[in-house]
Amino acid sequence: MNDFSDIEKELRSLRPVRPSAWLFQGVARQLEKSSATAAPAEEKIIRPHWFRFGGLSLGSALAAAAAIFILARLDPFTVERHGPRTAKATPVPAAAAVSSAQFIPDGATRVVYHTQNEGLIFPQGADEPVRRVRSRTKETLQWRNPKTGASLRVTYPSEEVRLIPVSGQ
């Protein structure tokens, strides 16, 4: 038997004040906005402007760069056809060794544009805490064809997490 039915009845007789019309308008506006601009979750990741290219283009660029890099690495076979493999002992001048289609690595840069100290963590099995520092970087690899002067540059974002041992306070 419920001893509180009388008080429950009294409570139910209290009616909460109706919310303002602003609330309904606000919800309607936001739901309409969200349905109009429904974006996949992947697009909700906030990236620096220059990161905003599709995964396909990034993949294509990296694949192209890898292909060129492999071609460049395979080029010694081409050289072998024209002469003996004596590069180790007496390297031929670079300009003479490369064909017009050959790209050689020309440089790599790494720009750290954001570093965040995420505080101390205790890794499993470790005796002491370590500090986790997350860095966001932009790495650029560059190849150059010394014969034609053409260059190829691939830039991609990367993220690095470093665990730095923390000594006593």
């Binding site: 509180f4 008080i7 429950e8 009294e10 409570l11 139910r12 007789s13 209290l14 009616r15 909460p16 004040v17 109706r18 919310p19 303002s20 602003w22 609330l23 309904f24 606000g26 919800v27 309607a28 936001q30 739901l31 969200s34 349905s35």
Partner: protein
């Protein structure tokens, strides 16, 4: 161009959220008032929580989750607003007068009852609000507050007992 099914789905969704929200909004705002001082702040919390909830769920079958969302948004707001809001919410929990559930057209006896509700401990008051004005089951209340069904039920009973005691003629 949207085909007929998509258009119909949009219309249904639109009608659904309006129907659901019209029914739930007063109770949700009353629930949100527990963490803030003003109705305007409570409405902001409810707006954000409902939109966040509806975008993913599109129905209110899981009421516990809806109230959990309101709670989360309210607590996020407090954290964001940091010290000032924290002071406010602490004050609202400690000071009986700070929590003022707004009820329509209360008479003298109802005014006494509303005052007694204000004096309830916070954890009892939130269960009471969810049960009486939002018609949640104890299972849903438990889910929304992260407590067991039995705890929700006992907090509810304690709240009713405290109200009854408070309203007894001295």
């Amino acid at each position: 161009m949207k085909d007929r099914e998509e258009v119909m789905e949009d219309v249904t969704d639109h009608q659904n959220w309006k129907t659901c929200f019209t029914q739930l909004a007063p109770g949700l705002v009353l629930f949100a008032r527990q963490w803030v001082r003003t109705s305007a702040d409570a409405e902001d919390i409810v707006q954000e929580a409902f939109v966040r909830f509806w975008r993913t769920k599109r129905d209110v079958a899981n009421k516990g989750l809806l109230y959990a969302t309101v709670r989360t948004v309210a607590l996020d707001l407090i954290r964001k607003d940091s010290r000032r809001a924290r002071r406010e919410v602490e004050a609202s929990w400690d000071t009986p007068q700070a929590f003022e559930p707004q009820f329509e057209g209360v008479d003298d006896s109802q005014l006494l009852l509303a005052g007694a509700i204000n004096r309830l401990p916070h954890e009892q008051r939130e269960v009471l609000v969810m049960k009486i004005w939002n018609d949640l089951t104890f299972a849903e209340i438990g889910e929304g507050l992260g407590i067991s069904q039995n705890t929700a039920a006992s907090r509810y009973r304690y709240a009713l007992a405290a109200l009854k005691k408070d309203l007894l003629p001295q």
